[in-house]
Symmetry: D2
Subunit: 449 residues, 4 copies
């Protein structure tokens, strides 16, 4: 649950990378970093904080060169998270190298154990360090060959951008689980980014998505990136990007995120037809529930109302509420539109339910604000399994759908009714022209190579 | 264009005041401050920054006592703005006093000149300092009498909360231009705040709005505040609060802000009926254009789409774009949903047009993203006159509607068509049961006493 | 216990003022501020913190103009000390004015009460505000006349620098209690500063001290400042500046501070002659005890040793020691030279004893480090009375010499012997050619007009 | 040029480590870090800044456990120095490990090349990373055996403290170049620190110095540390610690630093006997020149005067002086005592001359302050060679004594006469009972194994 970017062949490489990361801040707010390459040397700046805080003019001046890679980090536990920020830089036999990674390697512990058994040291908790070791231990003369062989031992959901002193290697796993798109910068050179929403601000034109199992190589040899199909593609992009994670204005693998969310809402509405429930309005949980709620409203002809206001000034530290001030955590962020709600039956749409605690607080908040009924609709199926492919979900035990039936959850969150999308509904909403990674819903951990 | 709050009779007074200010952060982000009273002493903490930054636990511990007043400041020019933060504190003959103010005194220069001629000194640029001087110079024995006489010399749009060592005085001008509401805290005591949206987080029940020309006095003498009608009411609340400034979940003088904005959108739609223009979707300029766009869509049956995404991570300092990266300022904040827009005719709704530069950039951004036509609709009338009643508008010369006709503006912002609400439309949308302060639209500067 | 500076007639006025304040940082570390004047407008920047933190290049750019006044503040109690930083700025009838002040007005409460009774408001706790009010209330047409009359009502120890839009007025009280010197800047114009040590860094040549009761006026009328003898001089400069407060490289009223401290040490040595005590070395309590210890050593021929090391990295916040780690507060700052001390008889010299707690901790630290005997010598007389003339001393009750005899103090601090200078010794050490302000030692509060 | 500390067997381990680092702040101000061990896990906190800034109560709470190692870093070049802060932490085959290092490995490039050739990656520029790799690559089962073998390949001047989950290994190179001492904490457990000055604040009793070539192992097996003589000792402690680097209250290998500096000054005085130069006073360049100047004065009977004042408020960022304000950099820090100096012949003592620029500025400053003659004495021999054993000296070309004779330097720095200590003088001043590392003076790079 991170964002990565690569800029190749533009004299403002680091600046453009920082703007792209800024556009993808929603994918990670804890730490950010950029490595640039110039005259055979790699420059790195990474730190805790938002993109707009870390990349001062001074920092961008330090990041010289016409190529750069960057990363936004979602979150880490522990005291010194700066060590777990990316890019990961190292010197090894062929020179200097820097890597950014979005995803999760499922065989990382085995690989790490083997590497450690052979005398490697690990200075961070990041699986990105695995890949550098595999590249460094390899005996091939060319970086591209080392990368290829290293990837043979790398199982998981991943997008890597690897930068040497004068090249960039872009790799997407054979399943294409995490998104990655290629664009052409109007001011010269190329951009590769986790989401196409990054292209607007840097004035880039979308070219195509990186193909599952593909490696792109940017080098001085050619104006166009070289493409190598490293692995047989078995395309299964992550459904969760459409459900919750991506920005609605992004196109992920040819599908507009906003549209898919609208479809999810429409499907919920179709499913509700003839259920005998009368509601006065459709209300989204902002911001991610908005498109689905708009879809539900347009399908059902029930009025859409912005019944919950989101406060965007919530900072990273503030008043710890005293014991009497309970339920305040949700209310700091979300506020009910009392006059709209009072005495009304509401159909509330959120993108997903994970632990159930936030949903419960929202329902309670709406009822305290006078709602007569709260019918809760979830624009995704029940999350019964943790994701090991790059989304930060809690353990199985904490997932409410692992422990409770839909009916029990409905009672727990104090809603009047509760409905989810079925897995089939979800697939149809995104587009049933391909398979998706759905492991959080169906437990099919298909990544094996 | 500020927020004020008073908490009376609650042992967590400063903490509750900070939460209320947090809920009203949209009314001012430059500086914030709170004065509490305890055992005959007034404690003040004010500083630049957001509420969540200034009011640390340490600060709140310092602000002892069961009564507190607070303020969010919109913006000031100059180098040392901390001196212009509120509350304004002073010692004077009857003891200590602290004042917060939302509004603008139109005779402040004359009053200040007269006070200065009589030997007063002014240490800030704030008109609030005038009122303290008028109170201090008065010879009456009771603070309430001094306040009354001081207000006789005070002409303008204002809400004051004045705190002495053991009382709070709440005053709203005779026109009721700026909003001010009274609530009862469930944990004990009262709250007075610029907007009712502050009541949610502190768990307060709305009682009523402060009446135009009313003074409320909170004291130990009575559980209920004492009410004095200081001035003959001539009710004319500010229409701009409904158009743009207030949070949509607030009730201003009995009218829900969200509803009035929806009505404005519906009226725009009615006006467009039969105009022969075909559009594919209604798109709001987020966030303030959303309710009107929803209203337009529901009235016109044209689909509402969230075609512009707002980035909420824009910090206070960031990369100064280089010359080549023009138009970026708007794009840092707003991003077009390219796939939704491409080849489509759009009806775009914003709350108002002030200088016209932002509107022009939005239209251009949408067209660059592929929009076939952009029909711009403004959910308020043309702003032809500066506001002197507390809204921070630019000078007459900078107001585009002062210099250009609607047709010229339409051409300037490169829209296909442009429509505003008429003043009558606006009044009807809010509710034609009363007069409003409409000076920005009609130039009627009615405040004379 | 503050520092003030005025720069007149130099295009780098604010920058030079900041350098002078930097050189006088020892006189106050809590807050600092500068007001400059340019084109009829006064610019002010003041904040908590050290000079090197507050006066960034940005701040200095804001402080335009060829005249500036500045201030370092020693300390204030309370939560929002920024309001008590100087310069104090105000608008009044004749325009804008800004004042810095070093000293203490002994009739401030009466004056303030009278001003308040006449309707004045006070926004800070600083007596500087009194003077602005007195100037503002005056009805004379010229600022100089207003200042003169205001000073008639001002009793105390003071140095003021008052800046209008185009003039600077420098005043020293009739007793010349607090120091103030005039210098000529090699880069053009004049400097007035509390201590001559400020002249080095700004490359100024010492001209003379401001005379007791003198007012200097800098204006465009003349290249030289105009001098007016406002009050009959009754010269009694503060002895404490020589004892402790001034930097040793300053000349205060024609006497080099370092020399006077050396003399104090020599006198202590003379007094010790024939007392039968044998000591192995003379050790200063650094840094202020060093010159007296050198004087003692040179007179007594006993070796001088740097037996206590001072740690200059003590920041403003650090680890709160746990209960077991007692006595650590002194040891964070001072560290004994164990190998030098072990088994030796020491003569330890400090500049003064106020409460006695630090002296006790030093003696104990030295004994724990192995000192056989510790003979404590104080390079000043017993402090029996609080100072009301600008030095921040504790209340009478906290002064150990108010409660205890010399013998009792010796026992309390666990020293083997203890000797002070007599008042006569002190006077002779500084120079018996004039009277001094000695109120902390003899209780003679002579300031009456 | 760093400080290291280890605390073993005390429940306040991290707190005591921070206090010890605070006492050794003079050995490095750029970055600081601590690793503690608790319940089989290592906790690390490191950051840019002073000890008192980095180790907040929160940080110390995170650093759980009864053992801790810490480090102060002198300086690094480049943009992201936080990555080069210590301790260096890694996971490897036997578990978790953390290392601090003071010194310099002279074969680091060869070792690194060999490691890299074998597939290792290096993530920092620190030679400490070499040692971790050597330990990790080793195939022995016990950490102690791995450390022993790793050290066989490690040539240089070093002190290491290596912490595993439950042990601490302390190693000093066979020459004992960098200092390292063992103490017993009164509150329980042991301390090992670069300088004994760290023992005062943590209330530890000095036991002995770590022997050249010794490894101490702290473990639960025994109350006493186990001692292993890893290498045949060839004792040659660094003379520079006595000349300049150590705090004067430290004992380095049985010799008190202050005493040795006093001796250096006395020797300079003896050498000057009969040279026909008459001076009025001896003046130190503070702070490090003070003991030598005291020694010179006591030997020559010429009065010692504190003729240069040092300003300790110099922060890390301040006003960049304009072009006209030259020579200011030295004057920000050092200020001449004009009245003492005027018309006098001075003998000025500094600890060393490296590039010559500071000495030149000091002489010029003193002459501008009126000194008739300035005789410059240096309490060390001419520095002709860079140090590769852990002191941060510039390249050979920048060393003034490499390029110029004594006579040329005297002319360059504008002194009247200039004298150094001979190498023999230096050795005799410290104590001629052993050999010293003198490579900066004699170019004897003796470290070969």
């Amino acid at each position: 649950m991170c964002a990565i970017v690569g800029i190749y062949g533009n004299e403002n490489a680091a600046r453009l990378a920082s703007l792209a990361l800024f556009s993808m801040q929603h994918r990670g707010q804890e730490a950010t970093g950029i490595s640039s390459s110039c005259d055979g040397k790699i420059y790195t700046k990474k730190d805790r904080g938002l993109v707009s805080e870390v990349f001062t003019d001074e920092a961008l001046k330090y990041l010289k060169g016409d190529m750069a890679i960057g990363h936004n980090r979602y979150s880490t536990a522990g005291g010194d998270s700066i060590l777990d920020a990316q890019p990961v830089f190292a010197k090894y036999k062929l020179g200097e190298i820097s890597i950014v990674h979005n995803g999760n390697l499922i065989n990382k512990d085995e690989v790490r154990r083997e590497l450690i058994d052979n005398g490697a040291i690990f200075q961070t908790g990041m699986d990105t360090e695995n890949l550098i070791h595999l590249i460094a231990k390899n005996s091939k003369d060319r970086l591209r060959d080392r990368i290829e062989e290293a990837l043979q031992k790398t199982i998981g959901a991943y997008c890597f951008i690897i930068q040497s002193r004068n090249k960039q290697f872009v790799i997407r796993d054979r399943y294409g689980i995490r998104p990655l798109s290629l664009g052409k910068l109007k001011s010269g050179g190329y951009i590769v980014a986790s989401e196409t929403c990054a292209f607007e601000l840097v004035d880039a034109k979308f070219i195509r998505d990186i193909r599952p199992g593909e490696m792109l190589i940017f080098s001085k040899k050619s104006d166009e990136p070289e493409s190598i199909q490293l692995f047989e593609p078995e395309f299964r992009p992550c459904a969760f990007e459409y459900v919750y994670f991506a920005r609605p204005d992004s196109e992920i693998d040819g599908k507009n995120v906003y549209n898919t969310r609208e479809n999810m809402g429409k499907t919920l509405a179709k499913n509700d037809k003839g259920n005998g429930i009368h509601v006065d309005m459709v209300i989204p949980v902002p911001d991610s529930g908005v498109p689905a709620a708009l879809g539900y409203a347009s399908e059902s002809k029930i009025p859409f109302k912005y019944g919950i206001i989101r406060n965007h000034y919530v900072g990273r530290t503030f008043i710890e509420p005293t014991q009497e001030m309970r339920n305040m955590k949700v209310k700091m962020k979300l506020s009910p539109m009392r006059s709209l709600i009072e005495g009304k039956s509401l159909l509330v749409i959120d993108d997903s339910i994970v632990r159930g605690t936030t949903s419960k607080r929202i329902v309670r908040m709406l009822k305290e604000a006078g709602a007569k009924e709260v019918h809760f609709r979830v624009a995704s199926p029940e999350i019964k399994y943790p994701c090991f492919y790059g989304i930060d979900t809690p353990s199985k035990e904490e997932l409410i759908s692992h422990r409770m039936t839909k009916e029990e959850i409905c009672e727990y969150i104090e809603a009047d009714t509760l409905e989810y999308l079925s897995i089939e509904d979800l697939v149809n909403s995104i587009g049933n022209d391909r398979h998706y990674a759905l492991e959080s819903f169906d437990g099919d951990y298909f990544v094996t190579k």
